[in-house]
Each structure stands twice: as C-alpha cells, then as structure tokens.
C-alpha cells in the first residue's frame, strides 16, 4: 500500500470511489511487477470494503439551518 495514501477507513464514499477509479485505470495502463500489482489489489480491496461499510452503516443525517446561520440538529416536529 502506498505510504502517501490515507487509510481507507478515513475516506468518504466519494473519496474512496474516486481513488478506486484512478487505481483501476492505473492497473489497466502501465505494467507493474507482481508486488506492485498485489499492492494495488490490496488497496483496491480496502477501498471497496470501505465503500461497502459506508453503504451498510449509512443513516440519513438531518440538520437545520437557524435564522442566525448556524447549523444545528433538527428540532423534533410533530
């Protein structure tokens, strides 16, 4: 795994998806040695797992903008 890349666990869905797309086109392009290929495979797996985790855990967050321009938790409405 490249040392410069953030841990997959810290990425948002869009970030992980974006990196996956880059990774796939890189795998598609220049030829790598076996270890490079394997490292990318590992990274890709971690990114996919991250995306899956986010999809599984996803829970709609609802907030509210106040008249003062602050974002707060939504007040319960009846």
């Amino acid at each position: 795994m490249a040392e410069t890349s953030a841990s997959a666990q810290d990425l948002s869905y869009e970030q992980a998806l974006g990196e996956l797309e880059t990774l796939l086109s890189s795998l598609e392009g220049e030829s790598k040695d076996l270890e490079g290929t394997m490292a990318m495979f590992e990274r890709g797996k971690a990114l996919i797992a991250r995306c899956q985790e986010l999809l599984e855990k996803a829970d709609l967050k609802v907030k509210q903008l106040t008249a003062d321009g602050e974002v707060i938790e939504l007040e319960e409405q009846d």
Partner: protein, 407 residues
C-alpha cells in the same frame, strides 16, 4: 323586530338598529352569500391598509366592492380601472357608510383568472431577461454529500423528501432551512433561506419544495424575489413544488424541475442499489486486472526461459522451464481459485472480503522467498549457495541461508 299587529304606536328605530337589521336580512339570504357578479372596475383605490376598494359598474348600475388584504395581495398588480371582471363574494352592509357592498373573495378577468394573468406577465418579463434560459441550467452532482432543503419544517413535503432520501441514499446529509411556504412573509423568508444556504452551508444541491395547492397557495413560488434568488443561487437548485400539473416560475428558474417534492429527492441522489451494483462491477474489474497483471508476469517468465535455452545446456534449460512452468502454474491456479470463489461470493453481495486475500496462498503452505534486496526468488537460478534469504509464510517471516541447491 317587533311585528305585533296589536301595537298602536309605530315603533321608532335607531339608524344603527335599522342598519343592523338590513345587514342581517342581506346576510341571511343564500343567494347573496355566494354570488358571481360581472362588471367593469372603476374608482379603484388601494390605500396603505392593503385592502382594495372599487366600484363594479355596468351600463345601468354600480356596486361597491371590497377586497380584504389577505386576498388582495395576490391580485393587486393585475387590477386596473376599466378592466372587465367577474367578482365572487358575499353581499353585506358597511354600516358606518350606510352602503351595501360586495365583499370579494375571488376575481377573474372575463374568461381568464387574474392571478394567472399576473403569472403570465411576470413569466414573460423574467423570460425576456433570460432567467429561464437553458444555458443557465447546471448539471446536478452525481453523488451529493450535503443537500439543502427549503420548505416548511412541518409540511408533508419535507417528510416526503426525507423518506425518499432515506430509502434511496442515506449516505447524504440534509440541512433544512425551514420557511413558511405560503402567506405574506413566505417570499421574503424563502428568498433569505436560499441565500443563507448558499452563504453558510454551501450544500452540493438545494431542493426547494412544497405540497400541492391552488395557484394562490403556490403563489410564493411565483414571487419575483424568490424566482430571482433561485436563478442567482450558486448551488444547483431542484424545484419540487405542488403536483405534476402545477408549474411555478420557480420551476422555470431552477436547474431541474421535479413534478413533486418526492420527485425532487429522487433526482437529487443516486439509488443505493445502483451504488452497490457499481461497487460489484469495480470488484470484478479489480479481479480481472489483477489476473491480467499476473498473466503478464507469467509471460515474462517464459520469455526469460526462452533466452536461457539459447545459452545453457539442454538439460538445464528443461529443468528451468519445468520449474518456471511449475511456479507460474501454481501462481495462476491459486489466483484463479480465488477468482472463482470470489466471483461466486459476489453473487451474494455483502459477504466478507477477507477470503480474497492472496496471502491465503501462503496459508495453504506455500512460501515466498526473497533475497536480501527484497526481490522475489521465483527460481533456484536466483539464489546462490550461502546466500541469505527471507522466507515469508502466512503468519510471519524468517531469515535463512541457502545450504544446498538442487536442480
């Protein structure tokens, strides 16, 4: 009133009593409580109270009319002296002035609604300014992170939007800018909410919506200030106002018009099922490309074997070839086994990915041999007697030195 025929002296009433009596008579008449009258507007007066007064005339008679402020604000811009209209309302008495008059609650030009005329006037004006031009429309983000919603906090529209987002794509965050969606203050507050979202929240997309209603109910979304704020929004706007058949000027100014609030939420986000499908396809691509990378490596090994053949004694070449074949065959079959297993697993998406780990090859008893530089020694030709090597097993590694080489 006392109608006793036995009364000898006629009773005398105060003006107020008589007027109140006349008023009661008029108001109790069903025909007068719900009547359409056609005529021409004259003496149109709009005092600062917000009420509108005018006289409805035809060739031989005239009728005083009042429009109270609540109804007047929908109509004021379109009324003119001399205009032929049909007024709806109830007849009653203005007691202080001693006048009977029509209390108007609905008004239409002969043939066409006045409010609709105002709608068309404003539409033509803003259209001419280019506010509704197709070139102004921006594409929506594919996967928004934050969605601003301008609607009533208590309305069904907001619940519809939340339910739809929760079902389709619960990854997103919703920021509600609560506003009244009808009434006098609605246009100002809706305008302010659009601007505040743009300024302080900067969502990826804004949904502006409310449930269905009459043209009057939806009028805030035809207000020039609201329409201009929608057009000026830096964040793309999806409108979902009313029902399929309702069109407001906000719809024309928005980047995308949805038929309903629910429809707006659908347009705002991708379906989570599509995201899952996309992930599956990425997984398959990843497996295929990794396989292709391994195949390429294998091809390189056999190329090396060919070169070896031209330089070495025949038996050595055969030995080398066999060894290479053996190694690459093992590598390929190990990966292919995993690919098969994993492709099957993908059919029931959601299963753990751990088993895909290529280190499983090691777990099955194979070892990876590397020289001091860390390069993989895939052939005995890559090691020398006495050389230090590192042996990687599935649960760790150890160093060893080459004691004997057998060919």
């Amino acid at each position: 009133m006392d109608n006793d025929p036995a009364a000898l002296v006629p009773q005398v009433y105060s003006v107020a009593d008589l007027t109140a009596y006349i008023r009661a008579v008029l108001e109790s008449n069903e025909n007068l409580a719900n009547v359409w009258v056609s005529g021409e507007i004259s003496n149109l007066s709009r005092p600062s109270s917000g009420h509108i007064y005018f006289t409805l005339k035809d060739a031989s008679a005239s009728l005083r009319c009042v429009i109270w402020r609540e109804q007047a604000r929908y109509l004021s811009a379109a009324l003119r002296d001399g205009m032929a209209v049909e007024a709806h309302g109830a007849v009653s008495v203005y007691e202080q002035g001693g006048q009977y008059q029509l209390y108007v609650d609905g008004l239409r030009a002969a043939g066409e609604g006045l409010l609709y005329q105002e709608f068309l006037r404003l539409k033509a004006k803003l259209e001419a300014e280019g506010l509704f031009d197709e070139e102004r429309k921006r594409p929506l983000p594919r996967l928004p992170k934050t969605i601003g919603v301008v609607t009533s906090a208590t309305g069904a529209a907001f619940q519809d939007i939340l339910n739809t987002l929760r079902a389709r794509c619960p990854l997103v965050e919703v920021v509600l800018a609560p506003v009244p969606v009808q009434g006098e203050s609605a246009p100002t507050l809706i305008t302010a909410a659009i601007e505040a979202l743009n300024y302080s929240v900067k969502p990826d997309v804004i949904i502006i919506g409310r449930g269905g209603g009459s043209l009057e109910d939806l009028w805030a979304f035809n207000d020039e200030r609201v329409v201009r704020a929608v057009a000026a929004s830096r964040v793309p706007v999806i409108s979902g106002v009313g029902h399929e058949t309702d069109f407001t000027l906000t719809d024309f100014a928005a980047d995308v018009r949805a038929p309903t609030p629910t429809g707006a939420a659908v347009l705002a986000v991708p379906d989570i099922a599509d995201l899952r499908t996309e992930l599956r396809s990425i997984m398959v691509q990843l497996l295929q490309l990794t396989q292709a990378g391994i195949d390429e490596r294998r091809y390189e090994l056999s190329e090396e074997a060919h070169r070896l053949e031209s330089h070495s004694p025949r038996w050595q070449v055969r030995q080398g070839m066999q060894r290479l074949d053996d190694l690459s065959l093992r590598l390929t079959s190990a990966i292919k086994t995993h690919l098969r297993t994993e492709t099957a697993r993908l059919a029931s998406f959601g299963a753990s990915l751990k088993a895909l780990d290529p280190h499983n090859v090691l777990r099955r008893g194979y070892a990876l041999v590397r020289d001091e530089s860390g390069a993989v020694a895939a052939s005995i030709l890559q090691v020398k007697l006495g050389q230090n090597v590192n042996i990687l097993l599935h649960d760790g590694a150890f160093d060893a030195s080459v004691k004997e080489i057998k060919k």
